[in-house]
């Protein structure tokens, strides 16, 4: 019999740092997910990427079994890292908080390509550039 999908839960947490504390405990336990099993699997599979936010999208089935796939770090985090700033701008059109090179934008676009709905790398770069500008970070050559 086909398994039935009960819900999906996406968790944005830091690689290698899953514990049964919030947000994992309260958001996964009500779905019948074995918390320790999830934490161990997540930590083992993200250990190499410490320091990055690695989203996990968990699909829960009606028999309480689950599978999960790991995503790539959020664009905004990669942009902040690439520009070397801690925070985006609150008023992005007036206060510029940093600069990012087009080469870095391309790197981010390549990494995020599979998660973006862009047909080619140029399209993906445009999306990343747009995100950077909306954070008050200038794109330079």
């Amino acid at each position: 019999m086909a398994k039935k999908v009960k819900s999906t839960v996406k968790i944005n947490i830091e690689a290698g740092k899953a514990t049964p504390a919030p947000p994992i405990g309260p958001s996964l336990a009500p779905h019948g997910i074995n918390l320790m099993m999830f934490c161990k699997e997540y930590n083992a599979r993200t250990a190499q990427q410490a320091g990055n936010i690695i989203p996990a999208t968990i699909t829960v089935f009606s028999d309480n079994s689950f599978t999960f796939v790991l995503g790539t770090p959020p664009t905004a985090q990669l942009i902040r890292k690439g520009a070397g700033v801690d925070k985006g701008s609150g008023v992005p059109n007036r206060n510029k908080v940093g600069k990012i090179t087009r080469a870095k934008v391309k790197e981010i676009a390549q990494l995020k390509m599979k998660d973006l709905n862009a047909i080619d790398i140029e399209g993906a770069m445009k999306q990343v550039e747009g995100s950077a500008r909306s954070m008050g970070i200038e794109v330079i050559d």
Partner: protein, 318 residues
């Protein structure tokens, strides 16, 4: 496991849950906006409101309302965090309307027990049965020769369901002889130390840096009637240095932690002659074996379930 040594946490910590309804395109921006103000990270939940409508699960999608949730510790930072979240949502809301966040107090006990309903007794290998206390012996009759472990999976690692725990349990069964002294590093729930006691170990010491694990090991040892054999303390391998050598050392943690332990412990081989290592993905096994050899151990057996391995080593002679 990744907790540093810290004060014992309160029995039942409370948190303020922030919940924000989100349209699909806004879920990630909202998550991003509140991420730095909440503890640990953000969860985005979507229920499937058309359960079982597709023929294949691959085609089935959760299409219900999306909720973004974060959690705030109930301490002096609470009000400023709440304010920062409301400000961030207000600005995002200028682009597209977002409903005001909802708040609710949650307690650890709300979720610590929620998934237990799905936990069934489990048979490992031929003889080991792991049974939660809320299922009676009559509901799950044992067979002659069974070694039954009463184990309530709490918030400490090691509930018998994970492939690594399964392999370690079998390895402990194979390696333990009556009268042995066993050390369980990263004891978690204490399952392996207790199992060693059940198989005749004279002494089984569990160490774990997580205070929750220390508590769980003691409780589980008492429930299983082996509190006189199993002892527990907070700490790591080095904290058992005075009691060495052991006949058997078992460490079911993660590859990175095990490699650090193998490299960082002076005269590691003096802790055993026999070692069981698990919590290692197949792709990481070569690195662990290299670290074992550098530490003066010889690989004698390797178990594999799914893509997880369990490595059994022995002090190399000569």
């Amino acid at each position: 496991m990744q907790h540093a040594q810290s004060a014992t946490p309160p029995e039942n910590p409370r948190w303020l849950e922030v919940e924000i309804d989100a349209e699909e395109e806004l879920a990630d921006p909202i998550s991003e906006a509140i991420y730095e103000h909440v503890e640990g990270g953000v969860a985005i939940e979507q229920l499937n409101d058309r359960l079982g409508t597709a023929d294949r699960w691959e085609d089935e999608l959760a299409t219900g309302p999306i909720k973004v949730r974060g959690y705030l510790p109930m301490d002096e930072t609470l009000e400023s965090r709440k304010l920062a979240i409301e400000k961030a949502i207000f600005y995002l809301g200028m682009v597209r309307p977002i409903a005001a966040p909802r708040y609710r107090v949650v307690e650890q006990s709300d979720w610590a027990n929620a998934w237990k309903v799905a936990f069934k007794p489990l048979r490992l290998g031929k003889r080991i049965v792991i049974r939660p206390s809320w299922i009676s012996a009559a509901e799950f009759p044992s067979q002659p020769g069974d070694v039954t472990l009463l184990l309530d999976p709490g918030l400490a690692f090691g509930t018998g369901l994970h492939p690594t725990t399964q392999m370690c349990a079998l390895a402990v069964e194979e390696q333990t002889r009556p009268g042995m002294r066993v050390l369980d590093v990263g004891a978690g729930s204490g399952v392996l130390a207790i199992l060693a006691a059940k198989f005749g170990a004279r002494e089984a010491l569990g160490v774990d840096t997580d205070p929750e694990a220390d508590r769980a090991t003691r409780e589980n040892a008492a429930i299983n009637g082996v509190a006189d054999v199993v002892t527990s303390r907070r700490g790591s391998l080095a904290d058992a240095a005075e009691e060495r050598p052991f006949d058997l050392v078992v460490a079911n943690i993660l590859a990175g932690v095990i490699i650090a332990m193998l490299r960082g412990t002076p005269s590691l081989a003096s802790y055993g002659p026999r070692f069981i290592f698990s919590g290692i993905l197949d792709t990481q096994a070569a690195d662990v074996i290299a670290a074992m050899e550098a530490a003066g151990l010889r690989l004698v057996e390797r178990k594999l379930i799914a893509d997880w391995v369990c490595l059994i080593g022995e002090r190399a002679t000569g």
